[in-house]
């Protein structure tokens, strides 16, 4: 497998806070890479650096050997890396079709045939019958598909999806999972996926990396990673890591619907053996 996108020692410091701390990442051609971690772990900041919207404090991101970080989002989009937003940001004043046309026109600076290309993408994302509507009339799942369609219209090589599944109902979540899979299969894209909905991450990802407090703490196959004590500790606190290695993936992970992350997630209070294999893990309440 060839590496298409590589992040080398990427860091971002906001004042005294190291939001992302020296993260290395490789994305293979045609791969779906999951990025998980508790809220505030630096996932979205990492995305913003890869997509060019914020410059890294140190380190760089390369697409097929060409540096794309530290410039403008436009540089990244022209090179072939595009992101979606966790909180959907459709252009409210444009119709669904026009939203996607903006991506088709400006992504590669190719105004010719933008309408036809946008319609094709809308077809792909099952939004074609919504083309003349304003995005305000779509459901949340519809707006998330629109966000994806607009990104696809820029004709990227690498797609960065920031929580496109979280917050929609289970049926829509399944549809979105299928859509992401067909993006990879039919459009031959490589995908990095931030997601809190664990079953979807487990099913979609070839590989997963785990961020906690800005650092990469684990990497590997999804099934291995969720059993990693450091990962469980990061999500649920140290005591849980020792007590419940089998829990991840079965619904005990914090999801956006259940509150705002580890701090509000009930840690099993009475744990007989509070030992941990991980030497320097923080408790859940200490995270920013």
């Amino acid at each position: 497998m060839t590496v298409i996108l590589r992040a080398e020692g990427v860091s971002k410091r906001f004042g005294g806070l190291k939001a992302v701390d020296s993260v290395d990442l490789e994305l293979n051609d045609g791969e779906i890479l999951g990025v998980i971690g508790p809220n505030g772990a630096g996932k979205t900041t990492l995305f913003s650096m890869i997509a060019g919207s914020i410059p890294p404090t140190s380190g760089r991101v390369l697409l097929e050997g060409k540096v794309i970080s530290g410039g403008s989002p436009r540089r990244a989009v022209r090179a072939g890396v595009v992101r979606t937003h966790q909180i959907v940001r459709p252009f409210q004043n444009l119709t669904v079709l026009e939203n996607v046309m903006v991506g088709a026109i400006y992504g590669k600076a190719r105004p010719l045939g933008a309408r036809e290309r946008a319609l094709e993408v809308l077809d792909f994302c099952s939004l074609r019958d919504r083309a003349p509507q304003l995005p305000g009339g779509l459901t949340l799942a519809g707006r998330k598909r629109l966000e994806l369609a607009r990104a696809l219209a820029t004709e990227p090589r690498v797609l960065l999806l920031d929580e496109v599944i979280a917050g929609v109902n289970p049926v829509e979540a399944l549809q979105m999972t299928d859509l992401i899979r067909s993006v990879r299969e039919k459009r031959r894209l490589s995908i990095i996926l931030i997601e809190h909905v664990m079953p979807a991450v487990m099913r979609l990802s070839d590989r997963v990396i785990v961020l906690d407090a800005g650092k990469k703490i684990a990497e590997g196959k999804p099934q291995q990673v969720v059993k990693d004590p450091r990962v469980i500790a990061a999500y649920l606190g140290e005591s849980a890591a020792a007590a419940a290695p089998a829990q991840p993936g079965s619904g005990s992970f914090p999801t956006p619907a259940s509150g705002s992350g580890p701090a509000s997630h009930p840690t099993p209070p009475s744990n007989p053996t509070p030992t941990s294999t991980s030497p320097s893990k923080k408790g859940p309440g200490e995270r920013p």
Partner: protein, 345 residues
């Protein structure tokens, strides 16, 4: 049959050509007095200026209270050229417009990174600073005693057709800016500047281009106004109420619509004529009241009313009206306040 780009609607083009043709013969047909013809000339001029202001304030959502800076600069540069070099007036206008556009870029390139009210506040500063500098820069502007231009016999009545041509060009420009692929980019920036950047738009570049075009056009209007008035002075050309008048025309007519500000300019010029004649102490106050009334009851001004009436009579389908209103609304979220709720926390 590929003479026209696909976004040009034939009926719209035909309507514009017909309107300009009728306008061209109107003074002769109706036998206007000199006074009436001058009034119409001035109105056409401000239609052009209001539309050019709308490219910034309506299309991009960057409301400028400093466009008098370009209006005045265009006026004084062209006046100086006419006095010193005796150029043909239209060359002086274009040079005035170019200088105004250059000046717009100088202050606009840094301030256009500000959004919404912050940009507007910055433009107030730009407008007032320019007015003060120009008032004391006597070598250029003649200070508070102003400049008198050489009088060309017959020019004033000829200016009517120049104004008509200028307005026609600006209307065509307004249409092209909104309907072309560039227009989609502008609307995207107005709605969400960061999301626009994330799909490959360069907001800085696009905003600079629009400000250049707007500054050039308003500069040409200022130069035209100088030729029309024969006498200009900085307090009038660079005054804050000059800037406000552009905002008012656009708001009355319909900010962000393609043609609304043109109607707004017509109403504004007539209203000003009447108010200055009848209530000289009150007219600024009445503008203020008018502004509040329009923003409260019909944010899209006269165009909003037209949309409503057209829908009432079945000429405009509700969803088409919704789309038109969304495009015109200043700030994308204003079009649909509920649309942002939901999403991941």
């Amino acid at each position: 049959m590929k003479l026209l780009p696909h976004w040009v609607s034939r009926p719209a083009l035909a309507a514009l050509v017909a309107a300009l043709a009728i306008g061209a013969v109107l003074p002769k047909v109706l036998g206007w007095s000199v006074y009436s013809q001058n009034q119409v000339t001035e109105t056409l001029l401000f239609v052009a200026a209001a539309l050019a202001w709308n490219w910034m304030g309506g299309y991009l959502g960057q409301v400028s209270f400093g466009h008098s800076a370009m209006f005045g600069l265009g006026g004084f540069i062209s006046a100086r050229l006419l006095l010193a070099l005796h150029l043909p007036f239209w060359i002086a206008w274009i040079v005035g417009g170019l200088v105004a556009a250059g000046y717009a870029l100088v202050w606009g390139h840094p301030t256009l990174r500000l959004r919404g009210p912050y940009f507007s506040i910055a433009t107030i500063g730009v407008g007032e600073a320019t007015r003060l500098v120009m008032t004391y820069w006597e070598d250029l502007t003649g200070g508070s005693s102003g400049l008198s231009l050489p009088i060309t016999p017959g020019l004033k009545s000829e200016l009517y057709w120049w104004a008509l041509a200028l307005m026609g060009a600006v209307i065509a420009g307004s249409y092209a800016l909104r309907k072309s692929t560039l227009g989609l980019g502008l609307l995207a920036i107005k709605s969400d500047v960061d999301a626009a950047a994330d799909v490959g738009i360069s907001p800085t570049l696009m905003q600079d281009i629009v400000l250049l075009l707007s500054g050039f056009t308003v500069g040409v209007c200022g130069a035209f106004y100088a030729s029309y008035q024969n006498f200009i002075e900085p307090g009038d050309m660079f005054g804050f109420d000059r800037s406000i008048s552009f905002v008012l025309m656009a708001v009355i007519g319909g900010v962000g619509t393609i043609i609304g500000p043109a109607f707004g300019a017509v109403v504004f010029v007539m209203l000003r004529q009447y108010l200055i004649g009848s209530y000289p102490q009150l007219y600024l106050g009445i503008y203020g009241v008018l502004l509040i009334v329009v923003i409260l009851f019909e944010p899209l001004g006269m165009m909003g009313l037209f949309f409503r009436i057209a829908r009432r009579f079945g000429l405009l389908r509700p969803e088409v009206e919704a789309t038109l209103e969304a495009k015109a609304a200043v700030g994308g979220a204003a079009a649909d306040p509920g649309a942002r709720e939901g999403g991941a926390p």
